[in-house]
C-alpha cells in the first residue's frame, strides 16, 4: 500500500475516533452542568464542569485565546463548531472526510458515502440549529455516526493493509483519549482525599465512566460503589473493556504483528513490551507508582510508538 494512503487511512480513523471522544466528553459535561453545582461546591474552579473538556483535550490555552469567558455556549462553540480548533467535531469530520476522499480507492464506497453524508449533515449545523436539535441529541448523533462508520468499516472492508492502518489509527487515538480522561479526572477533579465519597465525587466518577461507556460495565463487574481504584483497574487493565488501555494496546499490537516485516521488527517489539506491561500489570503497582505518573509514562510510550509508526510506514523520508 502507498505510504500516503496508509497515512490518510490512519488519520481518517483517528479523526472519527476523536470526534466521538469529543462528543462523549461534551455530552457528559453537558449532563453534569445540569446538576446544581453551585450549591454543592460553590466557587471551586475544578467543579466547573465546562473546564473539563478543555483540560482533557489540552485545549484550555487555545480556548482562552479565542474566548474570554468560560461558558457552556463558548465551550460548545469551540469544541463543536470552531473551524480553527483542529480537535473540534467540525474539523474532525472534515478531516476524516477529506482523508477518505483522497483515498477513496482504498476504502469501500459504503465507507466513503457514510463519511461524506456525515460531513454534509455536519455542514448544516450552526449553534442555533444545535440548540434547536438539543445539545444531547446532537452529540448523540455524532456518536452514532462514529458507530455507524465503524460498523460499515467492519462490515464491508477487506481485511487488508488498509483495514489494519485504519484500525491502528482508531486504537492509538482511543488509548490516548482514555489515558487523558483518566489523568485529568484523577488530578483535576479530585484535589483532596476528603472529597472521596462525597456527592461531587460520585458524579465525577460516574461521569467519567459514562464518557467512555463504562458506567454500565462497572456496575456489572463490580456491583458496588464507584472507587477510583476500580475505575483505574477497569479503564487501564481490564482487557474485556473495549476502551481500556489494555484492550487498545492489544488491538495495536495485533495489528502491528501483521503489518511489520523484518525491517520494522523494532516497532512490533515496542508495542509488544507495552502490551506485556498492561497484560501482566497489577492495580496495586499502578496505585503505588501513582496513577498520574503511570499515565504520563503511558502517554509518552504511546506517543513514541505513534512516532515510529509515522516514521516507518506513513511518512518515510
Amino acid at each position: 500500500m502507498l505510504c500516503r494512503t496508509a497515512n490518510e487511512l490512519y488519520w481518517m480513523a483517528r479523526h472519527i475516533e476523536r470526534a466521538e471522544n469529543t462528543a462523549r466528553l461534551l455530552d457528559v459535561t453537558y449532563r453534569m452542568s445540569l446538576l446544581p453545582y453551585e450549591v454543592i461546591e460553590p466557587g471551586l474552579a475544578w467543579a466547573e464542569p465546562w473546564a473539563v473538556p478543555l483540560i482533557t483535550s489540552g485545549l484550555a490555552t487555545a480556548f482562552y485565546e479565542r474566548f474570554e469567558e468560560l461558558s457552556a455556549e463558548n465551550v460548545l462553540r469551540f469544541m463543536i463548531l470552531d473551524s480553527n480548533n483542529p480537535s473540534s467535531i467540525y474539523c474532525c469530520l472534515r478531516g476524516a472526510r477529506e482523508s477518505a476522499r483522497s483515498v477513496r480507492g482504498a476504502i469501500t464506497s459504503e465507507m466513503y458515502e457514510d463519511l461524506n453524508s456525515a460531513w454534509l449533515e455536519m455542514r448544516g449545523y450552526d449553534y442555533d440549529r444545535i440548540q434547536l436539535t438539543g445539545v444531547s441529541a446532537f452529540l448523540e448523533w455524532v456518536k452514532m455516526r462514529s458507530h455507524l462508520f465503524r460498523g460499515v468499516t467492519f462490515g464491508t472492508m477487506l481485511r487488508d493493509e488498509a483495514y489494519h492502518f485504519n484500525r491502528l489509527g482508531t486504537h492509538i487515538e482511543r488509548a490516548d483519549n482514555t489515558a487523558r480522561i483518566l489523568d485529568v479526572k484523577y488530578h483535576t477533579l479530585l484535589p483532596s482525599a476528603a472529597d472521596v465519597g462525597g456527592a461531587v465525587d460520585y458524579y465525577q466518577w460516574s461521569a467519567l465512566l459514562r464518557s467512555v461507556s463504562g458506567f454500565e460495565s462497572y456496575r456489572k463487574i463490580y456491583s458496588d460503589v464507584i472507587t477510583p481504584r476500580r475505575v483505574a483497574e477497569l479503564l487501564i487493565l481490564r482487557e474485556d473493556m473495549p476502551r481500556s488501555l489494555h484492550s487498545c494496546i492489544h488491538f495495536i499490537h495485533d495489528t502491528l504483528e501483521v503489518l511489520c516485516d523484518e525491517n520494522s521488527r523494532e516497532i512490533e517489539r515496542a508495542s509488544g513490551e507495552l502490551y506485556a506491561r498492561l497484560h501482566y500489570g497489577k492495580t496495586d503497582d499502578i496505585i503505588k507508582l501513582g496513577l498520574h505518573e503511570y499515565l504520563i509514562e503511558f502517554l509518552d510510550r504511546i506517543s513514541a510508538l505513534g512516532g515510529e509508526i509515522n516514521r516507518y510506514f506513513l511518512v518515510p523520508t
Binding site: M1, C3, T5, E98, R101, S109, N116, L120, L259, D261
Partner: protein
Amino acid sequence: MAQVLLKGSRLADFTPVSRHLYDEMSSGEGAPRPHYQGFSDWLKRTPVDQIAQKREEAERAFHRIGITFAVYGENGGTERLIPFDIVPRIIPASEWRTLERGLKQRVHALNLFLDDIYHDQSILKAGVIPSERVLANSQYRREMQGMDVPGGIYAHIAGIDIVRADEGAYYVLEDNLRVPSGVSYMLENRRMMMRLFPELFATQAIKPVEHYPDLLLENLRGVTPAGEERPEVAVLTPGAHNSAYFEHAFLAQQMGVELVEGQDLFVQNETVYMRTTRGPRRVHVLYRRVDDDFLDPRAFRPDSMLGVPGLFAAYRAGRVTLANAIGTGVADDKSIYPFVPDMIRFYLTEEPILNNVPTWQLSREDDLRYCLEHLAELVVKEVHGAGGYGMLVGPAASVAEREAFRGRIVAQPDKYIAQPTLSLSTCPTFTAAGLAPRHIDLRPYVLSGKSVNLVPGGLTRVALREGSLVVNSSQGGGTKDTWVMAH
C-alpha cells in the same frame, strides 16, 4: 471548469436553427420513435409526483456518493454536483452498430497516424497533410520522434464527441485523445437509473456498460513494457483538488489498482517505483490523468509539482508505459481534424463511416472565398482556439461584428476554419416547467490496446438552459444515462 467533461465548449460553436430540430424521442407528430416507445409508455403511466420524488432521491444520492466536481476559482475549490436528468438518451441498435464501427475505424486510423508522424511520416511525404500542420504544431512532441511505444498505440483511451444534427445524421465534432474524462458519469448515471427505475431495465433490453473498468484494465495490461507477465498498473492523478479527481479515484477503485500522485512515485535506474508501506514497488503501466506538460519537471515544465522527475527517461527507455502516450494532442487539434477522413482513406483504404462536420480551411483560396461570401451562415473558429473564444457565429452576429471578423480573417486566413451552423438534436428533459426539449451531445469512450473496444453507450450531456447549446457542467450543463438497445 470545462475540463471535467470536455475541454473547450465545442457545442457552443453551433447556433440552433429551429427549422430542422431533430428530437431523439419524438418524430414530430407527437408519437414516440419506436426505440422510445417503452420508455414513453412508462412515463405516461408513472405518476408525476413519483417521478419528482425519484428525481430528488437521485440528487441526494449523488451528493452522498460524492460525485462532484471541483470548480476552480470558487472559494479555492468548491465542490458541485453535475445535474442529472432521468430521461435517458436512447440509441437504437442499428444506429449503434454503425457508430461502433465508425468509432473503431476512426480511432484505429488516429493511432496509425500518431505512430506514423512519430516515425516515418509517410502521410506527410505523400502530401495528404501539409507537413507544417503537424511539425509546427505546438502539440507535436519532438521528444517522441523515433520512439517505439508498445503495440504502436498512442491513444489508449479516446473520447470522441458526437452530435446529431439536421435530419438525424451523426457527426464527429471533436476527437479527445489526451486525457478525456467523463466516463465515471456514464457509469454512475447507469447505476443511478437502475437503482431508481429497475422496472425500466427489467422490461427492456438495454445493453450494459458496467464492464468498462474491466475492459480498461485489460487494455492497460495489454500495453505493458515487453516481457512483463504481471504488470502493475496505477492511475496517476494531479491530486484531490483536480476537477476530475472523483473520476480518477473511481476508476482506480473499480480496476483495483493504486491511485498515485507524483509524490508517491520515484524513478531509479530508469524504473518507476511507488513508495509503499513495504518499500518500493515497481510500476509498469501508468494510466495518467496529468497533462503532458506536467508529467516530468526534468523533461517538460520545470515548475511542475505534479510530475515525477525522470519519468520521461524511464518512458523513453521502454521501462514504463504511459496511457495515453505523450504527444497525442497533435492528432486532436482543430487544424488536424479536417484531415481525419483522409487519414482513414490513407491508412485503411476505407471510406470513413462517420462524418466530420464539413470544414472549410481558410488557408485554401477556394474555401476562403466561399467563407467570405457566406459569413452570415457559418461558424468561424480559430484553429488553436478553445472554449468558444475567438469565434464568430454568423447567424447570431450583428453586421458590424461580422465585418470586424471579416477583417481578421482576411489578414490571417490560415488562423481560421469555418463550419456550417448545425442544429443539434434535442432530447426531452425535466425542467422547472416540466418536460421540455434540450440540446444534447454524446461522448463514447474507445479503448485501444491489443484490440479496439468500447462499451455500448457513452456520456450524454445536455444543455439545461432553454435554447442553449452549452453542455459544459460549469455552465448549466447536465448529464443523462445513455441507452443502447439490444435490438
